[in-house]
């Protein structure tokens, strides 16, 4: 019989629900670099320097993790980024 209510399982489930999620922005050849930086500043509240660093990471490496935190807020940021036509996804952050 599964131990559904065991403290160990409950703790593991809670940890999964509470696990952080990454917001990932992916490269595309059309969006202007300056536009991507502007959107990072507006949506994620980045400084100009931080926005440009992430924009360059997207451009050079193909993707950049721009935010990590609770799933609901990650989804909110992805929705905002999609609203500006940036390619963004959420993915579970690796557990440490």
């Amino acid at each position: 019989m599964p131990l559904l209510d065991s403290p160990e399982i409950a703790a593991r489930e809670y940890a999964l629900l509470d696990a952080p999620w990454n917001v990932v922005v992916h490269n595309d050849p059309v969006n202007l670099m300056s536009y991507v930086s502007l959107i990072f500043r507006r949506v994620l509240g980045f400084s100009r320097e931080k926005a440009e660093a992430h924009m360059l990471e997207v451009h050079l490496k193909g993707r950049s993790i721009v935010w990590t935190g609770p799933r609901e807020k990650a989804e909110f940021f992805v929705q905002q980024l999609h609203g500006h036509l940036l390619l963004a996804t959420i993915e579970r952050a690796p557990q440490t």
């Binding site: 595309d28 050849p29 059309v30 202007l32 536009y35 502007l38 992805v78 929705q79 999609h82």
Partner: protein, 158 residues
């Protein structure tokens, strides 16, 4: 064509040649979704989780669709307010409309690239002045929209 900041912090485009004004008039129609690739680019999946994808399609996509459409309507309305003088056009983009223009120009560029299947090399290539082929004309149009977008980003971002 002259571009300058208007008194309200918006953008004033003056002495727009008829050909370029024609291209401005095409922003909205270029941004329409006529190909599945454009649809996929405008509404990308938010993750690999099929449940989230389904929720996204039913809850988020209609909202995004409305945002994109509203931006195109703002651009159309601004274009209707353009004035003619000595055979060229003048157009004011009020500061509060800057985001709508950024969005509509981005939609048009993304849609054109997806429809034509252009890659990075195509967009980086020099476009011949005589625009002999539809491909050249499309690349010129992309470049023009990109130039305007860059100007708007600079004005909005500072």
């Amino acid at each position: 064509m002259k571009l300058k900041e208007s008194d309200d912090g918006g953008i004033l485009l003056e002495e727009i040649p008829p050909f370029l004004f024609h291209l401005l008039g095409e922003i909205s129609s270029r941004a329409e979704i006529k190909h599945p690739r454009v649809d996929a680019r405008f509404f990308p999946d938010p993750s690999e989780d099929s449940e989230l994808i389904e929720d996204w399609k039913s809850l988020v996509q209609p909202e995004l669709q409305a945002i994109f459409q509203s931006a195109r309507e703002t651009v159309r309305a601004d274009l209707r307010g353009a004035s003619e003088r000595d055979g060229s056009m003048s157009l004011q983009i009020p500061k509060p409309h800057g985001d709508a223009w950024l969005s509509a120009l981005n939609q048009a560029r993304l849609a054109m690239v997806e429809e034509a299947g252009f890659g990075e090399k195509d967009m980086a290539a020099e476009v011949p002045d005589d625009l002999r082929t539809p491909r050249d004309a499309a690349l010129f149009q992309l470049g023009f929209y990109g130039f305007l977008q860059e100007c708007l980003v600079r004005m909005q971002g500072d």
